[in-house]
């Protein structure tokens, strides 16, 4: 499975467009991560705790996107776009939306 942000794959023309697919992952950092992230906010520096949460949310969204594409019979997803948003009362949860076009190369 090729997952790419480009609209074409070099040397492999698209044989069939199977449709636009999307997947989303909403994730909340737990209280411990919030606590450690809050300390970074006070004292400064790079928060690996939150970085890992974002990484996990992105991986989950892409995995779901790949599973959807696979179920449609696609062997590639082109034009993948990732959107990151915060949701919840105080923006304490992170949402990642992955969108792409499932194709057969």
């Amino acid at each position: 499975m090729i997952i790419t942000t480009t609209t074409m794959v070099e040397g492999r023309p698209v044989r069939e467009y199977l449709g636009v697919i999307n997947a989303q992952s909403i994730i909340g950092a737990n209280i411990f991560k919030d606590f450690l992230g809050g300390l970074r906010d006070v004292f400064g520096g790079r928060s690996k705790t939150y970085e890992r949460v974002i990484e996990q949310a992105k991986d989950d969204a892409l995995r779901e996107l790949a599973e959807k594409a696979q179920a449609m019979g696609a062997n590639a997803i082109i034009g993948v776009d990732l959107d990151f948003e915060t949701i919840g009362g105080s923006g304490s949860m992170l949402m990642v939306i992955a969108t792409g076009t499932a194709v057969k190369l």
Partner: protein, 356 residues
Amino acid sequence: MKTWFGSYSAAFQAEPVEATVLAVDDHITIGYQREDGTTQTVRWNLKDITAVFDQSQQATKITSAGEKDCRLFINGKEATDFILQMQAEQQKPWHKKDKTKEWSRNLLIFFAVAGILIATYFLLVPWLSEKLASNVSIKTEEGFGNAVFDALELSQQRDREATILLNDFFKEMKIPTDYDVRITVVSGNVVNAFALPGGNIIIYSALLKELKTFPELAALLSHEFIHINNRHSTRSIFRQLGSRIFLSLLFGKFGNVTAILADQADKFKSLKYSRRLEKEADIGGLSLLKERKIDHEGFVGLFQHLKASVPGSSMPEFFESHPDIDRRIEYIREASKNSRVEDNTELRTIFEKIKK
């Protein structure tokens, strides 16, 4: 997640077809097109599959225990290594898994940092606040106390005659102090009295009316005097300020619910500190009475008047700024065992004038 292209044989001796392979957490999924053109996906659990590198084909051969006739080939050795690594991770006991290790590390850091912050909040911040409060000059305290006194606009309600007599009464108690203690009686229905930083003591006429003996008045004044002399108001202000700054720095970033919880917890801590200061004022005031051989029952009478003024108050001590009145009576009686009592004509005479 990892993805590959492979060739999949759905049955023994079946022609292999092109397939897409996704490896996630505890399984792999294989997507392929059947002869009739429909799309099919197969899921193999990681614990059931065997991945070996086939030297002759230079490809990874994957089979599943559940579907023995099916085979999957993926070019190269990368898939073998990845699947073996995933299986090894899955077979580790829970406490050795990478995720558990990360959790343990986070928990350890959390408890260590939380421990340091709790120690800072309960020990360092109060110590530092009290240290700063002790450096405030009497003049500054007086300035602050006078500003509060003016802001309360108590001068207009002042009972001049009672004020003069009460100041005479306090002078007659002969308590040595660096503070210029000024007592003001104000008319009002509240059975209460309070002290401001720097030397102002405010007594409501309703409380004065309730007092029956001069030891009760002496107890009231000595209690309020200890608040001033021991800088209780200044210490409280500095402690609350210190706590608020610390909590807002820490919890201001944590969202509303956590901030509200921290705020309420801080209020309970302030109430506990306030009860400690009240007890300190009671015991300190009792010492002043004992030194002057004034009857300690003055405190008991005073507390009973206060109790009678708020009938039906059944709030647990935990929520109160003052200790429970029955408990106050108890520790005053306990601390004043074997104390000598003598009549004080001067104080009694002034008190009688006040009561007229």
